[in-house]
């Protein structure tokens, strides 16, 4: 089953220098296992390919049912140097929620994930 991350999680992002962090929080605690297993640093790096120049680090906050991603080289040198509308990376959060995950139907059914048929 194909599921959009938006349906499983919410998120907030912000800046520190040329880095953007995106915190991704499961909408239900039991869905955190899906985030932990499928929303990898590689998947996030691929999602933002072409827009960030550095690597992606992933940190786990199982106690908050959340993952934190740090995107390096994300803001064209930093919020004040960037010419983009989203110079501070404030909506990298919702951009990441566009990520689509391919999940086993059995997992989706067991966790009552709000997916759409693939």
């Amino acid at each position: 089953m194909r599921i959009r991350l938006l349906d499983l999680a919410h998120a907030r992002s912000g800046d520190k220098g040329d880095r953007c962090n995106v915190g991704v929080i499961a909408r239900r605690p039991e869905w955190y296992t899906v985030l932990a297993a499928y929303v990898t640093a590689d998947a996030v790096a691929r999602h933002f390919q072409g827009r960030i120049r550095g690597p992606v680090e992933r940190y786990e906050l199982a106690n908050l049912s959340a993952l934190n991603f740090v995107l390096h080289g994300a803001l064209e040198g930093g919020g004040t140097l960037s010419l983009r509308t989203d110079a501070q990376g404030k909506v990298f959060s919702t951009d990441l929620l566009r990520l689509e995950l391919d999940l086993p139907d059995e997992l989706a059914a067991r966790l009552s994930l709000p997916g759409r048929p693939s």
Partner: protein, 452 residues
Amino acid sequence: MTSVVRIGCAGGMWGDDLDAPRRLVEGAPLDYLMLDYLAEVTMSILQKQRARDPRAGFARDFPATVVSVLPAIRTRGLRVLADAGGVNPVGCGDAVRDAIAKAGAAGEVRVGVVTGDDLLPRLDALLAAGHELRNMDTGEPLAAVRDRVVAANAYIGADGLVAALDQGAQVVVTGRCADASLCLAPLVHEYHWPADDWDRRAAGMIAGHIIECGAQCTGGNCLHDWESIPDLANVGYPIVEVAADGTFVVTKPEGSGGRVSVLSVTEQLVYEIGDPRAYLTPDVSCDFTGLALTQAAPDRVAVRGARGTPKPAQLKVSIAYTAGYKAIGTLTYAWPDALAKAQRADAVLRERLDRAGLRFDAIVSEFVGAGATHGTVAPQTELPEVGYRIGVRDADKAKVDRFTREVAPLVLNGPPSATGYAQARGKVEEVVAFWPALIDRQAVDVHVEVRA
């Protein structure tokens, strides 16, 4: 009920809701009110203001804000902490005393001023003494940009603020400190937490981290279930009720708008962090991974499980330096073929810039409404309009100025259906960039003065 210290935050940035402090103080019993004014870029703006007028360089709104909560300071024992001092905390303290005097309470409120964060006057001496202030990200020595530095401030911690409170200050102003230290300081003052009680210090900093952006933890900018968050027009600013053991409750005034839920607080917990096991501050290294949040009651979230490890040996220094000029121009293109027209306009404009020999350090075009902020959107058709936004940055101000004249002509001599051209000719702005560095704690002298 066990006794708690109640700390509210009524300002998450300079430019936040001016009426929030008064509303928060009148809406709930508070022991302390904290206000954060200083984004990174704010310090360079304030340094420029101070260069023009030696009495300027602080958050000018702050004295009036103190007056707006003066009754609570005088009769309820409210104490206020703010980083409103900017690059001139002494001038800010004087302005606060003047405003209090004008409000009829001359000499009745003790104002504390904490200084020492401003390294700009000492910068060459520090470099000469061997503090290289290398860029934390690139490793370059500061010499690369030394002649363009406009501000240099160390993030100082809670110690100076605690000393000011210990000396009886009812209003404490400082310059650059870690935002959350404004919350930790009253707790150390009240509870006398030992200097090496890292877990409880971490709890105080994490409480501060949650409330330091004002309403961002009480329903503002909250994505989870955003449509159902009530009455944002009257959003309540946050309060933490902290017990002596470091556990705390996040809440907001009764009857105010917004929402305090486990998920609204979690969104703020993950805001602007790196490694959640080592969230570094001047006062303690915080570990978020043992935190447990529970909804204790409507709009009340209980937090426990904060852990800390010893504070870092060095302080972070934020150095601002000028990095050229930028300008941004915008036009709007309407249906039919709105995106194609905007893209054609961009090609035309770039060809003209090229022909004029104008090459820039950076040039960025965006098509607002067709994926300007999200890079992963499939092309849309039949859009009613698309915003065309083009920005340039360059060391040469004359080139950037020339650019600003090139966008508006497209309305008459470019692709059809352009409108919304009031912003076509952008304003040339000076760009300030940041140089993150570290400095030994011992090199930073914090000074505290308290008087009425």
